[in-house]
């Protein structure tokens, strides 16, 4: 199928690549379907694009690139909701809030996006954890990565 996107123009996607957020995400409860598209060639940054709303797209990243020790427990409730059978099926992304200059960009470590890659069910989970902030600096611990 073809969709309109915020950053990639019109593109063709496979319906099997669509990830499903049964309950939407906070602030966008009616957005249930997204697709993840690579943004940079290094594979660090991606776009999470809404299927129904071309103008709705988030810049996301693999948090473990920036915070190797990032660690949380997925509650049983969420394991059941997403029907997660094995931790190796789980992919984690976090949403970035871009700033200019880019070095000031923040990453929402308190609300990771959890995807069960076996069934493409996903959820933005809110951690009850004081260690990780909503506006965590992206480059706090890895200044070398600023240049990409």
């Amino acid at each position: 199928m073809n969709i309109q996107t915020k950053y990639h123009g019109e593109i063709t996607i496979e319906e099997t690549d669509i990830i499903q957020f049964e309950n939407g995400i906070p602030g966008f409860l009616n957005e249930h379907e997204f697709i993840i598209l690579p943004l940079t060639e290094d594979g660090i940054y991606s776009i999470m694009q809404s299927i129904r709303t071309p103008q709705l797209a988030f810049v996301i990243t693999n948090p473990f690139i920036f915070y190797k020790d990032y660690d949380f427990t997925i509650e049983d409730k969420i394991v059941k909701q997403l029907d997660i059978k094995s931790v190796t099926d789980v992919k984690v992304f976090n949403i970035l809030t871009l700033q200019d200059p880019f070095e000031k960009t923040t990453i929402n470590l308190q609300a990771p996006i959890i995807i069960n890659t076996k069934n493409n069910q996903a959820k933005q989970v809110i951690l009850n954890n004081d260690l990780y902030r909503i506006k965590h600096p992206l480059f706090n611990e890895s200044p070398d990565l600023i240049k990409g």
């Binding site: 950053y7 602030g27 797209a57 988030f58 810049v59 949403i95 200019d100 929402n108 933005q124 809110i126």
Partner: protein, 74 residues
Amino acid sequence: MLILTRKKGETIQIGNEIEIKIISIQGDQVKIGIEAPKTVEVYRKEIYEQIQEENKQAATSTMNVLDLFKKCQK
């Protein structure tokens, strides 16, 4: 809003499946235990609102993302 008075250890039942228990009271802090089915999500309200706000901010980035990345890769 329905207002009920409860003591420590007492519970409020909401519908068939939601139970709210007062665990402890210390000064102006109340510890509350919540039992709810898995389809009901329970959050501290101010945190949920902050996440909503952050998602909106992250989505309405007016900057040209691609330019920004090019700029910082120079």
